[in-house]
Every structure is written in structure tokens, then in C-alpha cells.
Symmetry: D3
Subunit: 149 residues, 6 copies
């Protein structure tokens, strides 16, 4: 079985943000069974800085990453930025181009490769809506960033 695709760290992260309310417990159980640690949360803003900050804070508070180590923060940061590329699709801008997001996020950490020497990786998944700062004038958006840690 190819773990990367069957129960990959990225797929796990995506399933955590895509799960509807009645599916969320099953999804969390499956991710834990894959030996991944994770946290989830919500963030909404026209200010990209707040989105980045919300994800970093959640990952630190839930001890998914060790905030005293720059290498862990660096791995997380680039995974967040890569996920935001998918959300923004071209220019990593929100309020500056008059749009806002409402996002669920997940940060997943673990060993997605069978070779133990590949070590730990981190995945950041985002799913929600992007659009004008007027309720309903929005469509779905997603993003996934993956990095070695």
C-alpha cells in the first residue's frame, strides 16, 4: 500500500477541513490511526496577516510544532504560504484587492513515508470561502502546503 496517497498527510489535512459536522469525529479518528498529530481551527479576515497568525498560533498552542525551534516554525511558515497560494490563486492578497476569506484550517504532522529516514513532515490545509466583503458574494477555495520538518 502506498501510504502517500492512501492515507497521505495531505489527504488527511484536506479531509479534516472538508468534513461536515457529522463526519468530523470519524475523520479525526482515521487521522489519529495514521499516527499523525494535528490541530484544526477557523479564521476569517480581509487581513492576510491575521490568517497566517491564526494558523501559527493554533499550531503552537496545540504543540504540533515547537515554537522555540526556528526550523519547525520555518517548515510551518512555508507550508502556510504554499497553502495560501492555492487559496488566492495568483496574488497572495486579500483586503488589498477587496476580498475576504472565511477558512477552516488544519495542521497535520507525522511520517507520511514508509522509509523511517524520511522523518517528519507537516501539512497545512485550508478550505472555505473567498469573495467580496458582502455575505453570499463568495465561492469556495482551498489550498494545501506540505513541507519536511
Amino acid at each position: 500500500m502506498n501510504k502517500t496517497i492512501q492515507s497521505g498527510i495531505g489527504k488527511s489535512a484536506l479531509q479534516l477541513v472538508l468534513a461536515n459536522s457529522h463526519e468530523i469525529e470519524d475523520t479525526k479518528t482515521r487521522v489519529i490511526e495514521s499516527d499523525y498529530s494535528f490541530c484544526t481551527g477557523k479564521t476569517g479576515s480581509m487581513d492576510m496577516q491575521k490568517v497566517v497568525s491564526a494558523i501559527e498560533t493554533a499550531a503552537k498552542r496545540n504543540e504540533i510544532i515547537d515554537e522555540t525551534l526556528y526550523r519547525e516554525m520555518h517548515a510551518l511558515y512555508h507550508a502556510i504560504l504554499e497553502a495560501l497560494e492555492g487559496v488566492t490563486r495568483g496574488q497572495v492578497l486579500l483586503g488589498d484587492v477587496m476580498r475576504t476569506v472565511g477558512l477552516r484550517f488544519s495542521v497535520v504532522r507525522g511520517r507520511p513515508y514508509e522509509n523511517e529516514a524520511e522523518g517528519e513532515w507537516i501539512a497545512v490545509a485550508l478550505y472555505g470561502t473567498i469573495g467580496a466583503p458582502i455575505r453570499g458574494l463568495e465561492h469556495e477555495t482551498t489550498g494545501l502546503g506540505i513541507n519536511h520538518i
Copy 2:
């Protein structure tokens, strides 16, 4: 119920590419129940043109879009490009920067908004791996593009 998030066109598209083999039939049934039409497929290449072409061809052959109408092709094209931004995260390049993708794709068409006047929309979801052109030197990647049609 907020259809956009609960059974949104984007979420449907993502679930179609994320489903493992034993989940695929259930997922398809749910998408059909949401009154969306769709197609799915696979494409793998170092050549971005082949990826774009594979998705366009599948959408035409499965009559998800009417290839004789430019407005439909235009809607699909921009949805594909937006999905590729998520996959490539910065520069929409594959072989030129020495990387290759192996992707499942879905194209979903339908009415994601309760207001009938919002009409039809299209979603393109991509999920798979991106990495060096050497088996195993790759990680997961995803992208979602959404457009009115």
C-alpha cells in the same frame, strides 16, 4: 442549510479526487444527488500543456461543457488555471523547473447557490503528487478553481 459549504460544488469536486477506491461510488452518488454533473480522470506529465489538455478533453467528451461555445470553454479554462495555481504554488511550471505531476482531476458543473438566478458554475479539482521525475521523490498537492459558466 448553506449549500455552498455543506454540499458545495468545490467540496464535491475535491471529494471526487480525494476518494479512496472503496469510497468512490458513494462519493459519486452524493454528487449526483446534489444535482451536479461531473467527470473525473487522471493525468500525469512534466508538460503542463498535457495536463490542461487532458482536463479540457475529458470535460468535452463527457459533455460537462459545450465545446462549441467559447463562454463555456473560457469558464473551464480559467477554472483549470486557478486549480493549477494551487498545485504549483507560485510559478505555473512543471518540467521547466524539473518537476512532474501525477494528478486525479474532476470537473463538476451545476447550481451551487440557492438563488436560481445565480445560474451554473464550474469547479475543477486536482489532487495527486508533485515532485522530481524520480518515483517516490514527491509529495501531495491539490488545487481548486471555481468559475461561473
Copy 3:
């Protein structure tokens, strides 16, 4: 006659922003004769959000688009963003990189294709100056975005 090029929606939008004062009435007449509806305006700012907002507000007030329909706002929004790519040429940023714009804009709506089934499209044209926030330290800039509606 190939309407797309001879009296295209994009060319019409560009001519509306390029016309000198003695040419503007003739230009408007020609655009009306092509069965396009349109509005024009001016905006100047170091704040990209104000530029986007000025164009959206003008298009809504002049009923070029129906602001209660997201599909129309979505079509307009992406046309604006594409036009701004031409104005900024690389990074859709103004004040953040210490530059300001003074722009005339036009929003044109209509049927640029002979095939009726192609339906309505929208064009956003921008023309003016970009440069340092000091009078005279600036050069011309333009941008055009086109979308199906």
C-alpha cells in the same frame, strides 16, 4: 466582419479611456452603436482597495452589473483584477511598493460575438499614470480584463 477585433468589447473599453476631451463624445456614440452599455470614471490612489472599490461602485451605480447577483459581481471582479495585472506588471501592489496611480476606467458590457449563444461579456479598461507619490515622477500604464458574464 469580425466584430471581435473591428469593434470589440475590449477595443471599445480601451477607446473610452484613451479618448482625449474632444474625442470622447464620438467614442461614446460609437460604443453605443455597437450595442454595448458602459460607464466611465476616474480613480487615483496608493491604495489598491480604493481602485477596485471605485470601479465596482461605478459599475453598480450605473447598472452595468446587477449587484444582487454574485455571478455578475464575480465576472466584474476577475475582469478588474486582470486589468490591474496590466497596470502593475508583476505584483498587484501600489503603496506597499511606494507607488501611486491616477487612472481613467471604463466598464463595458454586451455581446462581442456574432453567435448569440455566446451571451454577454464584460470588459474593464484602465489607462493613466503610475509612479512615485510625487507629481511628474510617473509614466503611463494600461490594463484590460475581459470575462464572460
Copy 4:
């Protein structure tokens, strides 16, 4: 009179590519009266390199720039790239993302500022169509690049 806007080098370049066949002679006369030198041409390709090359070759052959001086070639090159940002709106790619262009181009050289010390500048304007490599599946596009020389 503010020459920059009234008969600016950028506006002149745009008018040369926008002129319909019965307007082209008048437009050229006006540009010559503004003491600008210029050349115009056409290029169509899925290969961006051919587009860049066609414009450079025309500017050299028509002696708009001195090809033995790198500073002139450098000024032209960056003006071309900036114009292509407007044409491509995000990723400066054609065939790689399955699209093609058919463009008219102009290269205009002269003194757009009243202060003689501002010296010579160059403008590159592009106007035409971009779309799928199938006739008719295309919409208009434009771009303008300006540089000191």
C-alpha cells in the same frame, strides 16, 4: 498642456495597435507630429519566445533602437516583458498553459516629457486576441510597457 497624457508615448503606442484600417494613416501622422519614431507589426504564436523575438527584430530592423548598444536592447526588453504581463495577466506563459496569441505590436521612441533632461523613452504596446488554439475561442488582450532608454 500635459504632454504625458494628451499625446503620451504610451497613448501613441496604444493608438497604433488599436487603429482600424481606415484610421491607421491618421494615427501614424499624429504620432509623427508628436516627434516620436515608431514601428508596427504583427505576431502570432503559442511560443512566447517568438513573440519577444518578433518585436525585437522589428525594432532593430526599423532602427527604433540601436542593436549594438545593450542599454537600448535592455530598455526595449523590459518594456516588452512589461507589456506581456498585461497580455498574459498573471503567468507569462502561452503554449505551456494551452493558449495562443494573435497580436499587433508597436514600438514608439521619443521624448514624452517637457523637460529635455528626461531624455528618450520607449513604449511597447500590444493588442490582439488570446485564447485556445482553435479559431474563435479567444478574447481581446492588451499590454503596455514603458521604459527610459
Copy 5:
């Protein structure tokens, strides 16, 4: 001897920002011997506008460029922006994506080509750190922009 590489304007600019304290005088002497004029400085901010402004101000105060001529300001501005692309590697954003820089900068002006007709060029070099707004959570970064003046 190929001056471009041996004592190029870009290499000179980079050496000025890379020199450790005991090397700085020697480096300045070498740059002066190459007949370049230059200035150096430091800037640190989460606000990109302040970084651009600090470099422009230093270049004006030290009379590396003539601030009354737009062509000189334009040459400097684009050289700064190109240097910032190297520093930010993808999106020219700092605080918006929750990061800050501490940079040394140099602006060098002179004749890097043996052919006198190539005239004057300008180089902007940046070197320092980029990272989270927390001391130590940062790594090195550099950028170089070059333009004819």
C-alpha cells in the same frame, strides 16, 4: 579583462552589503577604484514601503541619483523592485504575510561596460535576514537589481 564579472557593478554592490566590519573599508576602496559612486545603509521593517523609501532616500541624499529627474528615479525604482524579488522570492510582501526584514543595502552607480556608449548603470544590492517578527526566527536573504540609468 571582462569588467562585468571581474569588478562588475552588481558584484561591487553585493560586496558592499556582504562585507564584515573589518572588511568594509577595503571593499569601499575597491569600489571607488572601479570608478563607481555608491551609498550604503540599513533598514528593517515589516512594511515594504519603508524599505523602498529608505533606499530611495539614501540614494537621493547621497546624490547617487538626481531626484529632480524622473528617468533617474525610474531607473532606481525598478532596480529596487528587482532586488526585492530576490529578498521575498515569490510575493513582494512582508507584514502582510507575517514576516519582517533587517537589511543592509547599497546603491552603486557607474559604467560597468568597456564601451563608453553603454553609459551609466545602477545596481541595488540587499543582504540581511527575513523571518518571523521574533528575534532569531529568521534566515539570510539577498537580492540584486540592475538597470541602465
Copy 6:
């Protein structure tokens, strides 16, 4: 002493590509004294894939990275891409936009932080020329990418 800046991994990488022939041995000695391992090389092409490949191959052959571990290849790959952003300043394209590079490169591996727990990092530095595919029509360019390994 702040190792990051005084004898940082990025500064070391840059000095290796900037050193003139009579300085190269001293520079290598200093880098070795900082306990970094490294390799250097040259690559020139209009084809970005060849540039990426030349750097990857040198890093593998000189055992700077372990090519059997994807985490090491992944760290190197993103460092290369970040360095190329500095070289290309906007669009990571060479021949497609009619330009070529002649580059010296270095790959440096080691522990740039005093805290042992920060582990190993990798730096990729590039320095050389970029320009038209005609000898002499080129200017200097540089780029630096840094990643945890």
C-alpha cells in the same frame, strides 16, 4: 558573535560564487573553517531545467545531499527555486522570454545557528549574468535560497 550574519550559511554561499580567481582558495578555507560542507560549479543555458539539473547533480555527486532521501532532495529543490526567483526577478523563465543565463552556483550545508537543535540547513547561491542570447547583451544577476534540511 551572531553566526547567522558574521559567517552565515547564506553569506558563505554568496562568497563562494562571488570570489574572483585569486580569492577562491581563501574563501573555501573560510567556509570549511565554519564547518560547512559545500560544492561549487558553473551552468549556462536558456533552458531552466538544465540549470536546476546541474545544481542538483553537483549536490548529489559531491555528497552534499543524500539523493536517496526525499527530504534532502526536497530541501535542496526549494532552495534552488528560491535562488532562481532572485535570478529571474518575477517570472522563473529563461528561453521562453528570450533570455539566457551564465551562472556560478554553490550549495552549502551545515549548522548556521548556535542552538544545536536547529540542526542542518542548506543554502544555494547563484551569481552570473542574464541577458539576450548574444554575447555582451547581459547584466549581472544573483539569487539565494535557504532551507532547513
